[in-house]
């Protein structure tokens, strides 16, 4: 963790370099959030005429749970400014960490609050269902982005119909890099998922960590979708599998009022596309596998003192994974 005085001088020097002048002032710098995951520092950039721009500096930790490329995230955010998807406005990138010690992004600070439990929170039921529908429509909007026209094909690989295999290989690679011991549960999952990987019917921009905790809300609804660090090109059903997987029921679904089937139907109506139920099952299981791999990475990060959260592949995740594995294909 970097202290406030060091960060303040880093921000001042970096902003001065970007603007080519030292007439702007950095004010109200403070760190938000805890732990050793990505450091978030909020501050105001005050121009010579007193105009104030609220910004947020997001600095990588010494070693993240999952390594992602800040350049790619910056390119995605910049491209999305030309789309209808509400995302933070990216201001500057320090890709190599020359200004902040570690790779960092500076984005405009949007108003609103994130509430991961809002769908099952204190609001009246009708309002919560409306919000859940709005989240579903936001996901559809992400998938509706014309990524080729926005130039995202230059920074992201298009896996084509083999998106499922590509993602499985990606997360297996992360598992092999981070596992400190054998996890036959995860090897069996890889074996079954590999044998049954569906082909995707279209390639879209996938958010890959879509959840209310990453959505800024105000009194009028959605303000912005945050945390694009895992975004990639792939199968739209990947995000649907992520939000309807058993581990995330409380975040996305409302018992008796907004089921996984409701969500999928609403998505299909909004996008005008069909959702293959077998492919959806595969992506749900993959999502649980991905969660387990994140826990394996988190455990390593904790033991190497890069993270203060004692993650571990836990019983709930492993038993859910084993219970949903596809059966024999032969």
């Amino acid at each position: 963790m970097t202290d406030i005085d060091t960060t303040e001088s880093q921000v001042r020097a970096f902003v001065t370099r970007q603007l080519g002048t030292d007439t702007a002032r950095v004010a109200n710098l403070q760190r938000i959030g805890v732990g050793r995951s990505r450091e978030n520092w909020i501050f105001d950039l005050v121009g010579p005429d007193g105009e104030c721009e609220p910004l947020i500096l997001r600095r990588d930790p010494d070693g993240g749970l999952v390594e992602t490329d800040r350049r790619t995230e910056f390119a995605i955010l910049t491209a999305l400014e030309k789309s209808d998807v509400p995302a933070p406005h990216a201001r500057w990138l320090d890709a190599n960490g020359t200004g902040f010690g570690r790779p960092s992004l500076i984005m405009r600070r949007e108003h609103g609050v994130c509430d991961y439990g809002v769908v099952n929170g204190d609001r009246p039921l009708a309002e919560r269902v409306e919000l859940a529908q709005a989240f579903c429509e936001l996901l559809a909007a992400v998938h509706g982005v014309d990524w080729a026209a926005l130039g995202l094909g230059d920074v992201l690989d298009d896996p084509g119909p083999e998106a499922a295999r590509a993602e499985l290989e990606n997360w297996e690679r992360i598992l092999r890099k981070d596992q400190l011991e054998a996890y036959p549960e995860l090897d069996l999952a890889i074996d079954r998922l590999r044998a049954t990987a569906p082909r995707s019917s279209r390639t879209v921009l996938v958010h890959a960590d879509f959840k209310p905790g990453n959505i800024l809300l105000d009194d009028h609804g959605v303000v912005a979708l945050l945390d694009w660090e895992l975004a990639h090109l792939g199968d739209p059903i990947e995000d649907l599998g992520w939000v309807t997987q058993p581990l995330r029921v409380r975040e996305h679904l409302i018992d008796g009022a907004w089921s996984a089937d409701d969500l999928v139907r609403h998505y299909a109506r909004t996008t005008g596309t069909d959702v293959d139920p077998l492919a959806l099952d595969w992506w749900r299981t993959f999502s649980t596998f991905k969660t387990a791999v994140m826990q394996v990475s988190g455990l390593k990060a904790f033991l190497e003192t890069r993270s203060d959260e004692p993650f571990r592949p836990n019983r709930r995740v492993l038993s859910t994974l084993l219970a949903t594995l596809p059966g024999e294909t032969s």
Binding site: A182, P184, D191, D308, P310, S319, A323, L325, S330
Partner: protein, 129 residues
């Protein structure tokens, strides 16, 4: 006899509670205390059940590996009351099982995948750690 392992763990948790009651605690420190307590709770819940779990699981794993055609040492050279040695053997046998899974044929496997899945499901349920 005293303090027992449980008494020491309970004592550590009580001291963390005292520290957490400090009103001046920063959000970072409060989060760290919560995580430390979570680890202690986990150890307290599982430590006494670990040795019998490893003994039973090592036996089940060795049987499963033999069924899959692997040569497995019976582990009789290890002391049955040595939890560290039994844990090491468990890790080695789990690595063997991972290798078996990686080498499974893509076609019919004589029901081996199903037996492995059944074993792993039971293990996840029984694992006290």
């Amino acid at each position: 006899m005293h303090p027992t392992i449980d008494e020491q763990l309970s004592g550590a948790k009580r001291l963390l509670d005292l520290a957490e009651d400090e009103s001046q605690l920063s959000a970072t420190s409060a989060e760290a205390l919560t995580n430390a307590r979570r680890l202690l709770t986990q150890v307290q819940r599982s430590w006494s059940a670990l040795l019998p779990f490893y003994l039973a699981d090592n036996a089940r794993l060795a049987t499963l590996l033999k069924e899959s055609g692997r040569a497995v040492e019976d582990g009789s050279q290890l002391r049955a009351d040595d939890v560290v040695a039994q844990a090491r053997r468990n890790a080695a046998l789990r690595q063997e099982l991972a290798d078996v899974i990686s080498g499974l044929p893509t076609g019919p496997d004589g029901g081996l995948r199903a037996r492995i899945a059944e074993y792993l499901t039971a293990r996840v349920d029984a694992d006290p750690s």
